[in-house]
Amino acid sequence: MTDEVRTMPATAQPRLMRWSVVLPGLAALACALVLPQFANAYVTEVATTALLYVVLCLGLNIVVGYAGLLDLGYAAFFAVGAYTSGILTAEFGFNFWLTIPVAMAAACVAGIIIGAPTLRLRSDYLAIVTLGFGEIVRIIARNLDITGGASGLIGIERPEIFGFKLMQVQHFYYAFLVLALLTAFVCLSVERSRMGRAWFYVRYDEDAAAGIGINRVTAKLQAYMMGAVIASVAGCLYAAKMTAISPESFTFNQSLLILLGVVLGGMGRIPGVVLGAVLVALLPEVLRGAGTYRPLVTAVALLAIMLFRPNGLWPDKRV
């Protein structure tokens, strides 16, 4: 039967044990674990960027893929995390690890401020508001003294763990790998829970969801805030890795790239989003040889993907 999605008994956890996903996943994880032992600093650096995008795309996927909200200003939450952590360590001498909960709280507050009034709107309006929000955060960062203005914030402390200071590319590679795995675990747990299902109900039919007893505004706000929190944690680690951040790291382009990763791989499900994130990070590097033709080649590649795989490279089976 063609629409037989799963043949597991009702009590089994569906999807968890699909070998077609688990085996390549384990293989990818094994490669990821040993990569810095064989690769040079350049490759490790690119791979670290890829892991950063994995975290950001997984976070945005909660908002776009699960709850169906088009967010065009996601980099703003990434900025909130990076600046919160950066300012606290550089200006006030906070321990890096203590800045993470503060950054998460700041992202929650920012998420509520922007989400509570706007999530009542339907998707298209939300896109415009989030676009504006992204720009507002960037422009504020450009103009405040505490954020270092246009030249940015410098002298961010490197984190220490059990007396070991994270310094080299490899160290940050592993730190981002841990964060990416943690994020994937969190997403997977929530995706299969009551709230996760509520997001899908709201995404597929808002009115039916309301009619069945789901508070759609609360459900959307929770997805939005959870996405914000994940981006802020990624921002903390990003600030620590770079030791200097400037408003230009958090432009509209950055938001678009993250969204591109989510859509490219196939939004809604974790394997597709991870693939999309890695592609977004790798594509500019792979196409370095194309020189000035790079934007053209990128555009053609993206168009081809959207033409031939409209639901993404590794789409959600249900759509």
Partner: protein, 254 residues
């Protein structure tokens, strides 16, 4: 005791009056129907009862509690579930996931306990799943639990909507044209199912229906609408004989 009480309900869209001072009640444990020609305002009334439209005036109470103007999810949580005239399933999700959606307002664990995999959260998930399966079994589509809801036959989609609404543990269930698009055999099954809902679960049923045969067969009381006004209210035999009902359905002889 009246479970649902509607008093002087008024609704208008701009200058267009859709409902004029509607009053009626539904007794606990009853099977009642709302009938009337197309455009009489039946679905508008359902949308007022379930919070999708905000009435201009009047009051609605469920089990003695006022529900007028509350948002839909609050009304569902207070015990009023509905189905939709044009089936509104989550087509891309599985049949079981659809049935489980009704349990959302009867469960409470959120994001944090899901991330921490708390034992209480795991137990609640199991209970939600079990309840979903139980209601699929009740309407007779348990064997399709893991199929995509959009791939079900039309009749089974209607059953799934019922299972989903019942899973929210309502006191009153509103069925908006449950027989639309069903063949004769499926309609017979539906009559049987509606009776089982009331007899086996004690849930009160209020339905909107066009199929007069089905309405007369299943309802204990019928409320008749025409042009947004209530024109008759009573047991099937009385309603059938009411000259105003005959006029509304068949027109008058000039």
């Amino acid at each position: 005791m009246a479970l649902l009480k509607v008093r002087d309900l008024r609704l208008s869209f701009g200058g267009l009056k859709v409902l004029h001072d509607i009053s009626f009640s539904v007794e606990k444990g009853a099977i009642n129907s709302l009938i009337g020609p197309n455009g009489a305002g039946k679905t508008s009334l359902f949308n007022c009862l379930t919070g999708f439209y905000k009435p201009k005036g009047g009051s609605i109470s469920l089990g003695g509690r006022p529900i007028t103007g509350l948002p839909p999810h609050r009304i569902t949580a207070l015990g009023l579930a509905r189905t939709f005239q044009n089936i509104r399933l989550f087509k891309e999700m599985t049949v079981l996931e659809n049935a489980m959606s009704g349990q959302h307002c009867r469960s409470r664990h959120g994001i944090v306990s899901a991330i921490l995999h708390l034992p209480a959260q795991r137990r609640e998930e199991e209970a939600i799943r079990a309840a979903g399966m139980r209601w699929l079994d009740f309407v007779g589509i348990q064997q399709h639990a893991h199929r995509r809801a959009g791939g079900l036959s039309y009749g089974d989609q209607r059953r799934l909507e019922l299972a989903r609404a019942l899973a929210s543990a309502p006191e009153l269930i509103l069925l908006d044209e449950p027989a639309a698009g069903l063949n004769e055999r499926e309609k017979l099954d539906l009559v049987h199912l509606i009776r089982r809902i009331r007899d086996e679960t004690g849930v009160t049923v209020l339905l909107i229906e066009h199929d007069m045969g089905l309405v007369m067969q299943v309802s204990e009381k019928i409320v008749v609408f025409d042009y947004g006004q209530k024109i008759a209210d009573g047991p099937p035999e009385a309603v059938r004989a009411d000259p105003r009902v005959i006029e509304a359905y068949l027109g008058t002889e000039e």
